[in-house]
């Protein structure tokens, strides 16, 4: 890198020249330096030879000098001197003024030869007129444009022979020479004077302006209100000109006290930091021009003239040019045949000055350039409509593929060479294409792929094209890409030797070798099937949060908003392909990564990023400046004069925000569920009335008046006065649930809150009315039935362990053995080494000693489900009674599972709120059990007869099943035992023993502490 910033290869001093202007001729042979006393003709081939002189002797400096850019007239140059333009001709080592153009009444500020007509010259003056001269008629200008204001610069458009631009203070006017009375467009470009104006070499709509206001701005004059991009500098910019190679820009600053005299080369793709600084001149750079490329040379030469009276020639090699292009795809394409410089300009979708197509077609397009308002050829949707336009816009820079397009015959020939495979495909476009008319695909010789393969590819291509043309979309590019991926996968097949024809059925997945290529191809055409990344999004999280991220406020899309965001990641290729017009320029992308010269570890292959698609509309001037100064400090480490600028360094290091902030928003007010209510709600089954009233108060306090009313209703509906007597006769009494205010009312309520998705109210109502159903009706009866049904099976108590404790109203009716105590004992018998004093272990006991195939799981014991347990009712009265019991319930028992789901889901929400106890309270009312325990289960076998035991006494041998190893008494309560040796005993005894010992107290030698988890 260091070598590059002193890349001048010629320095010649012309001490007495006193030249104020310089120009290089179109053949690259001569540079003319114009001073007050004489013009010096420097031979660029031999710059050290003594220059020829043309005597001048004028009291005026030469304002501008310019060679005629046409080869036929290459001996002619124009030099302005006050109000006059002198036309010199230089022949055979001598030169003289052959004519003068006089017409301006005040000093001429600028002149420019037309690059279309060799005789046409435009001059601008402070006298407010812009004259177009035909040098064959020098008496008067052929066209006079009246600008009202004096002009500082005038430049012909390089693509359209009618257009020219002039600058007037901070404004730019675009003229059509056929409409001399008024400018066709005004651009209020800068707040201060514009020093420099330059048209884009390849895009007729784009120009760059440099101004006293410390900026270079890029314009599409069709959108005069907003610049496309801005390059902010610390100092006024004297000139900014496009480079003849792609995407480059050279700037010269207005000299300030600090005497910053270097020229800077920028990539218009990344305006944060210059790509290169041409350092060497000791004084103001007065003029810089590109020397036309020599035949066969890839290097460019920049010729500069400075007030330090030296002329320097700087070499810009391909590597430096590539830095302007700044792209990966170009590297990939290096082997391609069609990347000569002139062909590298890709058209943007917005204009059709396409250069990819050669010869006749390009000429056609150029010929169409007429009046500005004749641009009605643009399709508003941005989609090209005619075949010709598609051809001109198609981006087919694919390695090994060449596409010859012939718009007249409506056909194109795609030739591709992949290793040994050669393919030549003729695509013919029907007249109606692309309006639902697909092109035909035909392989012609010398195609080398087998015919089965041809048929397959043809089918794929036809499918692809049909998909496109169905929507009136163009299909050439997708088809060619499809072809390439087919061939690539075919290649890999061939290589691997595995001739699997089915691989081709998914042709869009090109077989990529390994990861290293991934980074290189990011955003390239291979990503055509990867969706364009999200750069904003919102997600509901937790219970009441909305998390969202958006693009930073300053990041804007570089394409107009009328154009939708591309769908595929491959669209990014347009933003890093180096063949980009400034319309797509970006400024803020990856600037931290691209500190060219500042971080030598950084490879040239900067990663392409999604942020390339967006640009910052207006970067803060302050930070822009500082970054720039930082850059200078980096670029010129040897230059002492920059040392004073380090104070800006810490600002320069500040990263540019490409990532927006992530915002978390509380939106729980929009939700039908409320955490406050979740906390406040109670579920006291002992006193349903009280529960309802308290919950009503809680809802009211939160402002849910509707829910408060529902609770009031619930309170009324659960009133004990309404409940029929448990033992009532079905024949004499209609249950309250059959009343319109009974089940019907409740169902209406549930329906309503279902629609509102108010899961909180739903679950609470279901819970409350479920308890109502349980406690109000036939507890005793159900209990009795259960007891009889499960008497032999061992553990019916478990059901009551859940319900019994919450229904103290009936506790007196429950037989004593249904209290929780027995189950407590049984669990203690079976709980292994874990302490079993808590009732949480009850769940582990369910399967003890039971065969699940014969004994229904405990959930069957729920009264609601009892009906479905296929218990035969021998007595019809019993059946009727059962039906009657069902009818007495306010909650329709057939929907129990749904009600359970309400509770489960509400439980989930409570869990997220961290209200675990409330969750447990609600989940108590679920009829369906949680997932049965599937892990290890502990059973107790009698230590004497080895039969499975249940309880403290073995049913077979009648001895104690489990003796404490310490006290030799049968263990009833809390116990622990070793999983390894099976010995153990009372928890308290075990604790005491193992406080000092680590071996089993029985002396079996087991190191219980190590073996298990005492």
């Amino acid at each position: 890198m260091a070598a590059r910033w002193s890349s001048e290869n010629v320095v010649v001093e012309f001490r007495d020249a006193q030249a104020t202007a310089m120009s290089v001729d179109c053949l690259g042979q001569h540079a003319v330096l114009s001073g007050r006393r004489f013009l010096l003709m420097v031979s660029l081939e031999a710059p050290f030879e003594a220059p020829r002189k043309i005597s001048r002797q004028s009291k005026w400096d030469v304002g501008t000098v310019q060679w005629n850019p046409h080869k036929a007239e290459s001996h002619v140059f124009a030099a302005s001197s006050n109000q006059r333009v002198d036309l010199y001709s230089w022949r055979s080592g001598g030169g003289e003024v052959h004519t003068s153009l006089q017409g301006h009444t005040r000093v001429i500020s600028d002149l420019d030869w037309s690059c279309f007509e060799p005789e046409h010259l435009v001059t601008s003056s402070v006298d407010t007129y812009i004259y177009i001269w035909d040098t064959r008629d020098t008496r008067k200008p052929t066209v006079a444009l009246s600008a009202v204001a004096g002009a500082s610069q005038v430049k012909w458009n390089r693509r359209n022979h009618c257009l020219l631009a002039s600058s007037h203070d901070g404004d730019v006017r675009i003229w059509d020479k056929r409409k001399p009375n008024t400018a066709v467009e005004y651009v209020a470009a800068h707040l201060s004077k514009i020093h420099g104006l330059d048209w884009h070499p390849d895009n007729e709509y784009i120009l760059a302006t440099s101004s006293q206001d410390n900026s270079v701005r890029f314009w599409d004059f069709r959108q005069p209100r907003k610049y496309l991009n801005i390059l902010s500098c610390q100092v006024p910019v004297w000139k900014a000109r496009y480079t003849p190679f792609s995407n480059g820009l050279v700037t010269v600053m207005v000299p300030q006290l600090r005497r910053e005299n270097s020229l800077l080369l920028w990539s218009s793709l990344d305006l944060n930091n210059p790509v290169h600084a041409f350092v060497g001149h000791d004084d103001v750079v007065l003029e810089f021009q590109w020397r036309p490329q020599k035949e066969g040379s890839k290097d460019y030469q920049l010729v500069t003239w400075s007030r330090d009276q030296t002329l320097r020639i700087w070499k810009v090699d391909t590597q430096l040019q590539k830095l302007c292009a700044n792209d990966l795809v170009e590297d990939l394409m290096e082997g391609m045949s069609l990347t000569t410089e002139s062909e590298k300009i890709l058209p943007s979708p917005d204009h059709e000055s396409a250069t990819h197509i050669s010869g006749q077609l390009a000429d056609d397009i150029l010929d169409q350039d007429g009046l500005l308002n004749s641009t009605g050829r643009h399709d508003p949707s941005g989609l090209p409509q005619t075949l010709q336009q598609e051809f001109s816009l198609v981006n087919l820079q694919i390695r090994n593929v060449n596409v010859e397009m012939d718009a007249v015959n409506r056909s194109c020939v795609v030739s591709a060479v992949f290793g040994t495979i050669q393919v030549r495909l003729v695509v013919k476009f029907p007249a109606h294409y692309p309006n639902n008319a697909a092109p035909s695909f035909q392989f012609v010789s010398p195609t080398t792929i087998p015919s089965t393969m041809r048929t397959k590819i043809q089918k794929i291509l036809t499918d692809t094209s049909l998909q496109k043309v169905k929507r009136n979309q163009n299909c050439l590019e997708p088809c060619v890409r499809q072809l390439v991926s087919c061939l690539e996968s075919y290649m890999t097949q061939e290589d691997s030797g595995a001739a699997n024809p089915y691989l081709l059925t998914n042709p869009v997945t090109p077989a990529l070798p390994a990861f290293p290529r991934v980074t290189n191809t990011y955003g390239s055409y291979q990503d055509a099937n990867i969706p364009f990344p999200r750069t904003s999004g919102a997600r509901f999280c937790g219970t009441g949060c909305l998390v969202y991220f958006t693009r930073p406020i300053t990041m804007h899309r570089s394409v107009p908003t009328t154009e939708p965001t591309p769908r595929s990641l491959s669209a990014l290729s347009a933003y890093h392909s180096g063949v980009l017009t400034p319309l797509k320029m970006r400024t803020e992308s990856q600037s931290t990564l691209r500190l060219y010269g500042g971080s030598p570890t950084r490879t040239d292959k900067d990663p392409v990023s999604i942020s390339s698609f967006y640009y910052k509309e207006r970067k803060p001037l302050q930070s822009g400046l500082r970054r720039w100064s930082m850059q200078i400090a980096h670029d010129c480490p040897k230059s002492r004069r920059f040392k004073t600028k380090r104070e800006g360094a810490e600002y320069g290091n500040r990263p540019i925000k490409l990532a927006g902030k992530v915002i978390i928003q509380e939106i729980s007010c929009l939700l039908p569920v409320h955490k406050a209510l979740g906390e406040a709600y109670i579920l006291n089954v002992n006193d349903i009335q009280d529960t309802c009233q308290k919950n009503a108060a809680a809802a009211l306090a939160l402002g849910r008046r509707d829910v408060a009313k529902v609770w009031a209703l619930a309170s009324a509906a659960t009133s004990l006065d309404l409940s029929p007597d448990c033992e009532s006769d079905p024949d004499t009494d209609t249950p309250w649930a059959r009343h319109p205010f009974g089940r019907h009312l409740l169902e209406t309520l549930l329906d309503h809150y279902s629609k509102m998705s108010d899961i909180q109210t739903l679950a609470m109502l279901c819970s409350v009315f479920r308890t109502q159903g349980c406690s109000q009706m036939s507890d005793v009866q159900t209990l009795a039935m259960l007891c009889s049904a499960f008497r032999t099976s061992g553990c019916p108590q478990d059901y009551f362990s859940l319900y019994g404790q919450h229904a103290p109203g009936r506790s007196t009716q429950i037989p004593p053995h249904h209290s929780r105590y027995p189950s407590y004992t049984s669990s203690s018998m079976t709980s292994g080494s874990c302490s079993s004093t808590s009732d949480s272990t009850t769940t582990t006991t369910w399967n003890v000693g039971r065969d699940p195939e014969h004994i229904p799981p405990w959930g069957e014991s729920s009264p609601d489900d009892y009906r479905y347990a296929n218990q035969p009712y021998t007595d019809p009265r019993e059946r009727e009674k059962e039906l009657h019991d069902m009818n007495k319930k306010l909650l329709d028992p057939t929907n129990t599972l749904q009600f359970d789901d309400f509770k489960k889901y509400y439980g989930e929400i409570l869990h997220r709120w961290g209200l675990k106890e409330k969750r447990a309270e609600v989940l108590k009312f679920i009829s369906c059990p949680p997932e049965p325990h599937r892990g290890i289960e502990f059973g107790v076998y009698c230590c004497h007869c080895r039969s499975q035991a249940c309880g403290t006494q073995c049913a077979v041998c009648k001895r104690f099943t489990f003796q404490c190893a310490i006290c030799h008494v049968a263990v009833r309560g809390s116990s622990n035992f070793c999983l390894s040796c099976g010995h153990g005993g009372h928890t308290s005894h075990m604790m005491e023993w193992f406080r000092t010992q680590d071996e089993c107290p029985t002396g079996c030698g087991c190191r219980c502490l190590l073996q298990s988890t005492f």
């Binding site: 990503d527 997600r539 490409l658 997220r912």
Partner: protein
């Protein structure tokens, strides 16, 4: 009152592609084009960087938190074709598993409901959908649905764990026999429903309404009602709400929520399944709610009045 309770400056070096909070809403995971995944503790409005997870070799598209009953687990997917599952052990985040079975960018990851175990669905641009099931002991069982979407799969979303079919027909008392289902969207403009039958994943339904790539799908959480709802959004700017009231799950009807002017690339359901957040290429977030008569209405424009998004005109 809708209020901003936290603003997290992620310090990502490039654009963010996803942000998601965990089950309890105490941690935030973000991922970015800078190839990193970051985890922040955002309790009480704070922001503490808990982890900066590096491991992907390309932009990271999406993150997904697993249910906390399996521990603190986060999955991320990337352009580099990898899915990485990260786990917090002893306060440090480590790679738990790296899945490299896709041939192209992995665009979407989604954890199944906890009732199904630890199961992750991954949709990739190679057209396939992978299902990774944790079988314990550091082992992951992998099932792959090849060519799930021709050209590519862009999004996956699991169905809530509800018992299929009529609730009444369900044999009661037993553990409900969940059928695993999820929805996916892809470049074939289709929304597809998938169902596991006898351990094999089968295409159950094909929903056709979009005219361009489907960018995201979201299966609404169930609150216990028998109907199912899915939202899908597309490059064509349309957001459809699909509902199925049919107990057999075969009849889906589409309702157009709205047609946006730019691509819509994300839909997200609120926890109660009655509000949908929609975001897209226009850099805006809108919230939609279904009224009692079944009409969807925009209830808020999150960014309105906050200046978070400036007009791009």
């Amino acid at each position: 009152m809708v209020s901003v309770i936290n603003t997290v400056d992620t310090s990502h070096e490039d654009m963010i592609h996803d942000a998601q909070m965990d089950y309890y809403g105490t941690r935030l995971a973000t991922c970015s084009s800078d190839r990193s995944v970051k985890i922040f503790d955002v309790k009480n409005g704070g922001q503490i960087l808990v982890a900066d997870l590096r491991g992907h070799e390309g932009p990271v598209w999406q993150v997904a938190w697993a249910h906390p009953m399996y521990g603190n687990i986060l999955a991320s997917c990337s352009y580099d074709r990898k899915v990485i599952i990260w786990k917090e052990e002893n306060n440090s985040w480590e790679k738990m598993y790296e899945y490299t079975g896709h041939d192209s960018s992995v665009n979407s990851v989604c954890w199944g409901p906890y009732d199904f175990g630890l199961i992750l669905a991954c949709g990739s641009s190679d057209g396939a959908i992978s299902l990774l099931t944790f079988s314990g002991d550091q082992q992951w069982e992998i099932k792959k649905i090849n060519n799930a979407h021709t050209i590519g799969c862009n999004a996956v979303s699991w169905a809530p764990a509800v018992v299929p079919g009529s609730l009444i027909d369900q044999p009661s008392g037993q553990k409900p026999n969940y059928i695993k289902r999820f929805v996916s969207g892809g470049c074939d403009n289709l929304v597809k429903l998938w169902k596991e039958e006898d351990g094999q994943w089968k295409e159950d339904q094909k929903l056709e309404a979009h005219s361009d790539w489907v960018r995201d799908v979201g299966w609404a959480p169930s609150i216990g009602l028998p109907s199912s709802t899915i939202a899908s959004c597309s490059q064509d700017g349309r957001v459809f709400i699909w509902t199925c009231d049919d107990p057999s799950g075969n009849t889906w009807t589409a309702k157009l929520l709205h047609k946006f002017s730019d691509v819509v690339w994300h839909v997200s359901w609120s926890i109660t399944g009655n509000i949908l957040a929609v975001s897209g290429g226009d850099n805006k977030v809108t919230l939609w709610k279904e009224s009692a008569d079944g009409q969807w209405a925009c209830i808020s424009d999150i960014n309105k009045g906050q200046g978070a998004v400036s007009n791009e005109q």
